[in-house]
C-alpha cells in the first residue's frame, strides 16, 4: 500500500517535470514477438552485461605491465620465479584474491557465450531474411558488433601474458606483418616495436577495458534504438502482416520473461565459472621468448582463422618483387572476404533474388532454399575450419599422423560444405510449400525433385 502510494507520488513528480505519461504508455505497450529465436540477441546483450560486471572486478586487481616481478603468492610451483607483472597479478587474482578465480572464469565463459550468442543470432537473422529492407542498417551495426567483439575477446585473453596467449600474440603479430606493404608498420604500431616489446599488454588493456567495450556499448545502443524505431519482424501467421507486430507487451509479460533470461544467462555463466575450469594460466606458465605451448588453440571465435592458417598450402610468392608471406591469404584475405561478404549480404541477397521490397514478415528458412544452401555452406565451412584449428588434438585422438589429417582436411573443408549445402538446398526445396511436413517425413523422391513440380505433373 505504502509502496504503491510512493510509486504514484514519484510518477507524478517526474511527469510534472518531463511529461512522460505518453512515452511510458507507448513503451509499456510495445509488442515483442513470442518466438524463442527473437531472444538470441538478448542472450548476447545479457552476456555483455555479465562481462562488464565481472570485468570491472578483474580490473581492480590486474596489473597491465610486462615489467618483471618476482612472484611470491600462494601458488607454490611458481613461487620465487620471475614473470611479468601482468602474469603475476593474474595468478595472484586466481589464488589469493577471494572470488578472483570465480570471476575470472565467469568472465571468460561469458565471453565465449557472448560470441556464440552473436553467431546464433546472426544465423537466425540470416536464415529468416530479417536483414532485408528496411533493416540493412541494423545488419551492418550487428556485423560490426560481431567484429568488435571478436577483437575484444582476443585482446582480453591476450592480457594475462601467459605462454598460451603469448603464442596467440605471436601469430597475430606475424599475420599483421603479412599485410601488403604496411605490414611491418602496422605490427610495430600495435606492438611498439618488434615482438614482444613492452607495450602490447598495456595497449591491449586500454583497448580491452575502454575503447572496444565503449564501442560495443555504443553500437548496442544504436542496434536497440534502430530496433525500437523499426519494431520487430515476425514470422508469417494469422494476423501477422507488414502493418502489425504480434506478440506480448513489454509490460508486464515480456519484462518478466526478459528478466528471467537475464537471470538464466547469469546462472549459466556462474555455473560454468564455478564448475568448469577455463584458461588455467598457471599451468601454461609465464611468457618466455623462446617457448610456445603445445597444443595451442585460440578461443573458439578465432579458431576458424587458426584453422585456415594450419590448412592453407605452403605458398609464398612474389608480386612486383614483393614477397607475399604465407599467412596473408588464410590469415588476412580469408577473414577479410568473410566480413566483406557479411557486410554486403543484404545487397547480394537483393541482387540475386531481385527482391527490392520492404519486409516486416520473415521468411521461413525453407522458403529460400538457395539462402539455406549458402548458410549451411558457411556454417559447415567455418565449423570445419574451427575443427582444423585442433588438428593436432584430433590427430592424437584418431591416432593418425597430423600431416595426413591436414591433407584430408584440405579436401574436406572444400567438399563437405558443398555437399551439405546441396543437401540443405534439397531439403528446403522439398519442405517448401508443405508446412505440415517435417524433415522426418521426407522420402528420397521428395529430395530429388521439387514436390510442387511432381504435384503439377500428377
Amino acid at each position: 500500500m505504502i509502496i504503491r502510494w510512493l510509486g504514484r507520488g514519484a510518477a507524478r513528480w517526474f511527469d510534472g517535470r518531463l511529461r512522460l505519461a505518453s512515452t511510458v504508455r507507448t513503451a509499456v505497450a510495445k509488442v515483442f514477438p513470442d518466438h524463442w529465436s527473437f531472444m538470441l540477441g538478448e542472450i548476447a546483450l545479457y552476456s555483455f552485461v555479465t562481462l562488464v560486471l565481472t570485468g570491472t572486478f578483474l580490473t581492480l586487481f590486474f596489473v597491465p605491465a610486462t615489467g618483471d616481478v618476482a612472484y611470491d603468492g600462494s601458488y607454490a610451483p611458481l613461487r620465487g620465479s620471475t614473470m611479468s607483472a601482468a602474469y603475476a597479478s593474474t595468478v595472484e587474482l586466481s589464488f589469493d584474491v577471494r572470488g578472483g578465480l570465480l570471476f575470472r572464469q565467469v568472465h571468460h565463459w561469458s565471453a565465449l557465450v557472448f560470441l556464440a550468442a552473436i553467431v546464433v543470432h546472426l544465423s537466425r537473422v540470416f536464415f529468416t531474411g530479417a536483414f532485408r529492407k528496411p533493416r540493412e542498417i541494423n545488419w551492418l551495426v550487428g556485423v560490426t558488433l560481431f567484429a568488435t567483439s571478436i577483437a575484444n575477446g582476443f585482446a582480453g585473453y591476450s592480457l594475462p601474458d601467459d605462454l598460451l596467449s603469448a603464442t596467440g600474440l605471436r601469430i597475430a603479430y606475424s599475420t599483421l606483418l603479412s599485410l601488403p606493404l604496411v605490414g611491418p608498420w602496422a605490427a610495430f604500431l600495435l606492438f611498439g616495436g618488434e615482438f614482444p616489446g613492452e607495450s602490447i599488454v598495456p595497449r591491449l588493456y586500454v583497448a580491452h577495458v575502454l575503447l572496444l567495450p565503449g564501442l560495443i556499448a555504443a553500437l548496442v545502443g544504436v542496434h536497440m534504438a534502430v530496433l525500437v524505431r523499426q519494431k520487430h519482424t515476425h514470422f508469417p501467421g494469422p494476423g501477422r502482416t507488414d502493418r502489425t507486430v504480434v506478440g506480448s507487451k513489454l509490460w508486464p509479460a515480456y519484462a518478466f520473461r526478459s528478466l528471467a533470461l537475464l537471470c538464466a544467462v547469469l546462472a549459466v555463466a556462474f555455473g560454468l565459472g564455478a564448475l568448469v575450469q577455463i584458461n588455467p594460466i598457471w599451468s601454461y606458465g609465464p611468457f618466455q621468448p623462446a617457448a610456445a605451448t603445445s597444443p595451442a588453440q585460440p578461443d573458439w571465435f578465432l579458431g576458424w582463422v587458426e584453422g585456415a592458417l594450419r590448412l592453407f598450402p605452403p605458398v609464398e610468392f612474389r608480386v612486383f618483387g614483393h614477397l607475399v608471406p604465407a599467412p596473408f591469404l588464410p590469415g588476412v584475405v580469408m577473414p577479410g572476404l568473410t566480413f566483406l561478404v557479411l557486410y554486403a549480404w543484404p545487397w547480394i541477397d537483393r541482387a540475386v533474388t531481385g527482391d527490392r521490397g520492404r519486409h516486416q514478415v520473415l521468411d521461413r528458412p525453407r522458403h529460400r532454399p538457395a539462402r539455406v544452401a549458402v548458410g549451411v555452406w558457411a556454417l559447415s565451412f567455418y565449423g570445419l575450419l574451427l575443427l582444423s584449428a585442433a588438428d593436432d588434438l584430433v590427430a592424437m585422438w584418431l591416432r593418425v599422423p597430423v600431416l595426413d589429417l591436414v591433407r584430408i582436411m584440405r579436401v574436406v573443408v572444400i567438399v563437405v560444405p558443398l555437399l551439405l549445402a546441396a543437401v540443405g538446398f534439397a531439403v528446403a526445396r522439398a519442405l517448401r510449400g508443405r508446412p505440415e511436413d517435417t524433415v522426418g517425413t521426407l522420402r528420397w523422391a521428395d529430395l530429388t525433385s521439387p514436390r510442387e513440380a511432381r504435384d503439377e505433373r500428377r
Partner: protein, 283 residues
C-alpha cells in the same frame, strides 16, 4: 563597388584558409618534433574554424527571432488516465500475488547483499586497518636512517637543523617518518617521563601532520617551531609539539629516542599513539 555578401564570403573563406595553413604548420611541428608548433597549429586551426563558422552563422544565415511552441511539462489529464488504464487492466503483475512477490523481494535482497561481499576482496593481503593505523614500523632498537638509508648519529643532528629519519629498511613507510630537532635540553618542557626519550637535546616527533597528514616540511629555528606546508599548522618543539597555530588540534606524537652501542640513534619503541590524521576509532 563590391557586393557586401561577396566580401563576407571572402572573409569566411580566408578564415578557413588560415585553418588549412595552420594544419600544415601543425604537421610541420610534428615532423620537426616541435610540440609548441604542433599545439599552436591546432590552436590556430580550430580558431580559424571558429571564426569562419561564427561569421557564416551571423552574416550569411537567416536571423530570427523565431518562435517555438513550448508544451506544458506535465501530461494532460487524459494522457495520464490512458496510462493509468493501460497499467490498470493487466499491468499490475504484483497485485493479488502477495506470496511470490514477497519471496521475490527476499531473494533479490539476499542475492544483492551477497553480491556486495566481494568488495571485501579489495583488502587481499592487507592487514586490518585498526591494527595497521595504530602502529608504525618503529620497534625498540630499530635504527634511525636518513632518506639516503644511512644510519644517523647524534652528531649528524646540527643545532637549528631538522633531519628526516625512517626506521632502517623501511624508507617506504610513510606513517613512520620522523623529524629530529636539536634544542637546548634546559629549555625543553616535556612531561617528566618523556624527558628520557631525548638524546642530548635531540627530540624526535612524527613527521606526519595530525591535521590532514602532510609531511611537516619546515623548522622555524628562532621560534623553535615545526610548520606544515599544506595548511600552515605550527607545532611548538619545546612543549612536546603542541599545536600553537593553524588547524591542527593534536600534538605530533613523540618517538622514544635512544643510542645503541655503536652510537647510532635508535627507537626505544613505537610511537605511544597513532601518527598522522585522526579517525573516529583512534584511541
Amino acid at each position: 563597388m563590391t557586393d557586401p555578401r561577396r566580401a563576407v564570403e571572402r572573409r569566411i573563406a580566408a578564415a578557413f584558409g588560415v585553418s588549412t595553413l595552420a594544419a600544415v604548420l601543425a604537421g610541420a611541428g610534428y615532423v620537426l618534433g616541435d610540440e609548441m608548433l604542433l599545439g599552436l597549429g591546432f590552436a590556430l586551426g580550430f580558431a580559424g574554424l571558429a571564426v569562419g563558422l561564427a561569421a557564416w552563422s551571423r552574416r550569411l544565415l537567416p536571423q530570427g527571432p523565431y518562435v517555438e511552441e513550448r508544451e506544458p511539462l506535465i501530461s494532460p489529464p487524459l494522457t495520464r488516465q490512458a496510462l493509468e488504464s493501460e497499467l490498470g487492466r493487466d499491468g499490475r503483475p504484483f497485485a493479488r500475488t502477495a506470496l511470490p512477490r514477497r519471496m521475490l523481494v527476499l531473494a533479490v535482497s539476499a542475492l544483492g547483499i551477497v553480491a556486495l561481499f566481494p568488495i571485501r576482496s579489495l583488502l587481499f593481503r592487507v592487514p586490518s586497518p585498526r591494527r595497521a593505523l595504530a602502529e608504525t614500523a618503529w620497534r625498540a632498537g630499530t635504527r634511525a636512517v636518513g632518506v639516503d638509508g644511512r644510519p644517523v648519529r647524534a652528531a649528524d643532528v646540527v643545532p637549528g637543523g631538522m633531519l628526516t629519519v625512517f626506521p632502517e629498511g623501511r624508507l617506504d613507510a610513510a606513517d613512520s617518518a620522523a623529524v629530529l630537532v636539536r634544542v637546548d635540553p634546559a629549555r625543553l618542557a616535556l612531561p617528566p617521563d618523556r624527558m628520557r626519550w631525548t638524546v642530548d637535546g635531540i627530540v624526535a616527533y612524527s613527521k606526519v601532520c595530525t591535521h590532514a597528514g602532510c609531511p611537516i616540511g619546515l623548522y622555524l629555528q628562532t621560534a623553535q617551531r615545526l610548520a606544515c606546508p599544506c595548511h600552515q599548522s605550527v607545532f611548538d618543539v619545546l612543549r612536546g609539539a603542541l599545536p600553537v597555530g593553524g588547524p591542527a588540534a593534536r600534538p605530533l606524537p613523540q618517538l622514544p629516542l635512544g643510542v645503541d652501542a655503536e652510537g647510532v640513534l635508535v627507537a626505544r619503541g613505537d610511537f605511544p599513539e597513532p601518527t598522522g590524521p585522526g579517525y573516529w576509532r583512534r584511541a
